[in-house]
């Protein structure tokens, strides 16, 4: 009876993990945790980067599209401020304009009331308008060039868009 009990007790004592097994398992766990954390951080950075690119493209694209549509149907282009501002008459007869604000945003102005077309986080580094000379025999042609940039602590990207608009409105 007592021998049997002792044998059973000895067997129970042998169950469990040895120090080496525990160390190996903890090491594997640490390695896996390190890899997963690294991948997670990388993935987070990639997600942020992709979001910033998307935001930049959407903003500058939207502003350019608006300028193109309104300028194409507008008349009486007047470029001022070293080529960064343009004023014109819209197809509805409203006095309109586009300009680069002091806080590096593209602004659309209607009857002197201006709104931002680009977000706070987007920096428009350059907005320029250039018109063909009136004696060239061409209808009024305006070249628009905009350089947008977005910068974070770890990432920076820019987009340089350019197009040219030929005036379609022949009422003037």
């Amino acid at each position: 009876m007592s021998y049997s009990y002792l044998k059973s007790k000895n067997n129970t004592a042998k169950k469990g993990f040895t120090l080496v097994e525990v160390m190996v398992s903890v090491s594997i766990f640490l390695i896996v945790a390190f890899v997963v954390t690294s991948v997670f951080i990388t993935a987070l950075g990639a997600y942020r980067k992709s979001k910033q690119i998307s935001l930049l493209v959407d903003n500058v694209n939207y502003a350019m599209e608006r300028m193109v549509l309104n300028l194409r149907e507008g008349t009486g282009y007047n470029i001022t401020n070293g080529g960064s501002d343009i004023a014109f008459m819209s197809s509805e007869g409203i006095s309109m304009g586009y300009k680069l604000s002091g806080s590096n945003k593209i602004q659309e102005c209607k009857n002197s009331e201006c709104i931002d077309l680009t977000e706070q986080s987007i920096g428009i580094e350059k907005l320029s308008f250039e018109q063909s000379e009136s004696d060239a025999g061409l209808p009024p042609v305006v070249r628009i060039n905009a350089l947008g940039k977005i910068t974070t602590s770890t990432f920076s990207t820019s987009i340089n868009l350019q197009t040219t608009v030929a005036q379609r409105n022949t009422s003037q």
């Binding site: 493209v57 694209n61 018109q131 000379e133 868009l161 350019q162």
Partner: protein, 168 residues
């Protein structure tokens, strides 16, 4: 052993799957950026065609619009010196940027070659009267094509516009 392999495989898929998707998202973002840039350059080409056709039409020279520019031998189109729309033959369709970031075909000075190219060609649009030996060109169809190359892959965008000889 099998359990260990299964566990490692599941872990790898769980970790690498999202990472691959996000890498793809960045590539797609850059692709969208180039595509938007290209589409505006394409639009520029079309508007220059419209402007030049208007000028030529007013001076009864409509038929000379891009007369040497055909599909097999396309041309470049650009606004030269803020005065004239130039449509010329060339073997270099690359677009360059000057120090102000303005795109053109001008290679002088500190021009930087971009990844974008632009070409234009024309097709006559006749009045369609059957039996007429030489139909007068009442309009021209202009094709503008922009393309860009990144990581060995070339992408292309093409659009067209029909311009009419409005003074004939």
């Amino acid at each position: 052993m099998i359990e260990a392999f299964v566990a490692i495989t599941v872990l790898l898929i769980a970790v690498l799957g999202p990472l691959t998707l996000l890498t793809r998202a960045i590539n797609d973002g850059n692709y969208a950026k180039n595509q938007v840039t290209s589409s505006f350059l394409l639009q520029e080409g079309l508007d220059l065609v419209v402007a030049e056709s208007s000028r030529l039409s007013a001076s009864s020279q409509f038929s000379s619009l891009g007369s040497v520019c055909v599909y097999v031998s396309p041309c470049r189109i650009f606004l030269a010196s803020k005065k004239t729309v130039t449509i010329d033959s060339s073997s270099d369709f690359s677009l360059y940027t000057d120090i102000n970031g303005v795109y053109s075909h001008d290679t002088s000075g500190s021009a930087t070659k971009t990844i974008f190219t632009r070409k234009v060609w024309f097709e006559d649009v006749n009045d369609g009267v059957v039996g007429r030996f030489t139909s007068p060109t009442i309009a021209k169809k202009a094709f503008v094509e922009t393309s860009w190359t990144t990581k060995g892959l070339t992408r292309t965008q093409q659009s067209s516009v029909i311009v009419y000889n409005s003074y004939e």
